[in-house]
Amino acid sequence: MLKMKKLKNSLSKYIPFFHAGLKSTLAYKSQIYGWMIIGVIEILFIFFLYQAIYRNAPEGMNSVINGLTFYEMILYGATSFIFGNAISSETGWNIYVEVRDGTVVNTLTKPVSYRIRHLFTCFGQAFFQVFFIALPLLVILYGIFIGCGFVQFEPLQFILNIVFFLIFLLLAILINDSIGYLIGMLTFYTQHMFGLNMFISSIKTFLSGTMVPLSYMGVFGVIFSYLPFAFLASTPILILMGKMELLMIFIYLTIAIGYLILLEFINHLLFKHCIKKIVVQGG
């Protein structure tokens, strides 16, 4: 009981970081409108691209390519875009800015954990991105696709899919933030973010199945589905679309938790090393 109270007290220190993350996301409203416009363009692009692919398939628009019909493919592309935004984390960038400006000195003089502080800021951002953007858009998207009969789901199965999807959504936020934190830690050594960011963004886009579903990549797709990046798009989306067996869901759940623990362990060691090597930019 006493331990619980202590834990609650020490966690309450981080609540303001959650609020700060939430408020800083709200501060840049134009970004949200910009993102929505890009979203519409991207979905139109996916639509026309896959329309061309499916039209030229042997059974035309009724073909099933790599386990997905044309409408399922469009649904996958749209969900992947919305999901990508929902889990996006600024942690890596925020750390880089602190390292670049030297303001990391202010963060390190506060009696709080550097990792947990960034995690709560990420939760604040994710709260807005998930509850105010992603979930309403997904409800509208799936409402349209189910309502128009483009895709069909068993009601009970679909509810179960949603429950697992939400669990994997949380894991995706945590894994993505851990990767962001890792990249941020590396900027303590490199003092630059641009190259690292480009590298990790391309890796993530490719290996997570955001650009093309992993099932399109044959045996490589199967291997990639076991990497941590797959949990940032492919696995959760396939679960929501009912394309995954229950046993596989549990296997992936275990793997995702394992990756999360491993990433956090690496981050912990890296921070301990960084803190000894820190050089404050700008005097």
């Binding site: 609020h19 700060a20 408020k23 501060a27 000195v105 003089t109 404050v280």
Partner: protein, 332 residues
């Protein structure tokens, strides 16, 4: 027992050697050489509760590096820092609770949110009780005149407003020690004055220990009783401000406007130990040990009919210059 004890502190940075030109830059891609820079060398001092200490030196002298080690941000290469009988390296988080820090060029305020939110965040971080928070918040907002922009986003504040807010933010948890690293840099005279008054008032009100680095010698003269002068990582002087003025021969300066017919030779004839500088004004500097000031004044008034002049003691800036010059000479 002193509140802060710095024992044989040294810090060496490993810095890559970069040559000039494209070829050298390409070379560094394949083999990189490093040099060791000793930023702080065997520095030791102790500070008592309630002292205001000026830590001064030229750019790159090692001031900020020492302060950052004292805050636990940088790890010393050698030596240790004890605050309130605890090692900074071993009890960093605990000690962070006891210190407040203002880095003049690096804000601790949350950029995208209203200023008041930063104070609320800091209240939670430092677990400040509602009662204490209310008392300090009101006191600091009044002292630093923050109320008019408390609800503005930090990114929209002027530098002066931001510095005042930064200063208040570092004090909301009533730290035992306040580190101020160039707190008045880039500020106008009015804001500087406000910050100086606030430092004095806080030291008096809460008995806060203040360690101040600055290039503005007026900060030092107005605030500090004790100064530590550092050059190239080593301490040149640690002691009372008045003592060092005395050590420098009780030097006085007389300044009056430049005029037609001023003859330097006449002054030299009066006493050749008077140093004369002529620009828009004429400045005579001398030691009271060598020159009879009353006689000099009588001569200036009698001979030149000067009735508009200022007399002031040697400034800390001049003392620092002298110390630096002496240090260079000793090395040669």
């Amino acid at each position: 027992m002193a509140l802060i004890e710095v024992k044989n502190l040294s810090k060496t940075f490993k810095k890559p050697i970069r040559g000039n030109g494209l070829l050298s830059m390409i070379k560094t891609l394949f083999s990189r050489k490093y040099e060791n820079i000793e930023a702080v060398k065997d520095v030791s001092f102790s500070i008592e509760q309630g002292e205001i200490v000026g830590y001064i030196g030229a750019n790159g002298a090692g001031k900020s590096t020492t302060i950052k080690m004292m805050c636990g941000i940088l790890f010393p290469t050698e030596g240790e820092i004890i605050i309130d009988q605890k090692s900074v390296l071993k009890h960093r988080k605990e000690i962070n609770q006891e210190i407040g820090v203002v880095f003049g060029q690096k804000t601790q305020l949350w950029w995208d949110i209203p200023l008041i939110e930063t104070f609320k965040i800091l209240k939670a971080i430092y677990s400040v009780s509602d009662e204490d928070y209310k008392e300090r918040f009101n006191y600091l907002s009044e002292l630093l005149d923050l109320k008019s922009f408390m609800n503005q986003n930090v990114r929209s504040l002027s530098l002066g407003q931001r510095m005042r807010a930064d200063f208040a933010a570092s004090l909301i948890h009533n730290p035992k020690i306040l580190y101020l690293d160039e707190p008045t840099i880039g500020l106008d005279v009015l804001v500087k004055d406000k910050i100086r008054k606030a430092i004095k008032e806080l030291n008096h009100h809460y008995n806060t220990t203040v360690i101040l680095t600055t290039h503005d010698m007026k900060d030092i003269e107005e605030l500090c009783n004790r100064i530590i002068i550092i050059d190239k990582g080593s301490i040149l002087y640690d002691g009372n401000l008045e003592d060092i003025k005395f050590q420098f021969g009780n030097i006085k300066n007389i300044v009056f406007p430049r005029f037609e017919g001023f003859d330097e030779n006449k002054i030299k004839e009066f006493n050749d130990k008077i140093n004369i500088e002529v620009d828009e004004n004429i400045k005579l500097s001398f030691s009271l040990n060598d020159v009879n000031m009353d006689a000099l004044l009588l001569m200036l008034i009698g001979e030149y009919k000067i009735n508009d002049f200022k007399i002031f003691d040697i400034g800390i800036e001049e003392i620092t210059k002298e110390l630096y010059a002496k240090n260079e000479e000793t090395k040669k």
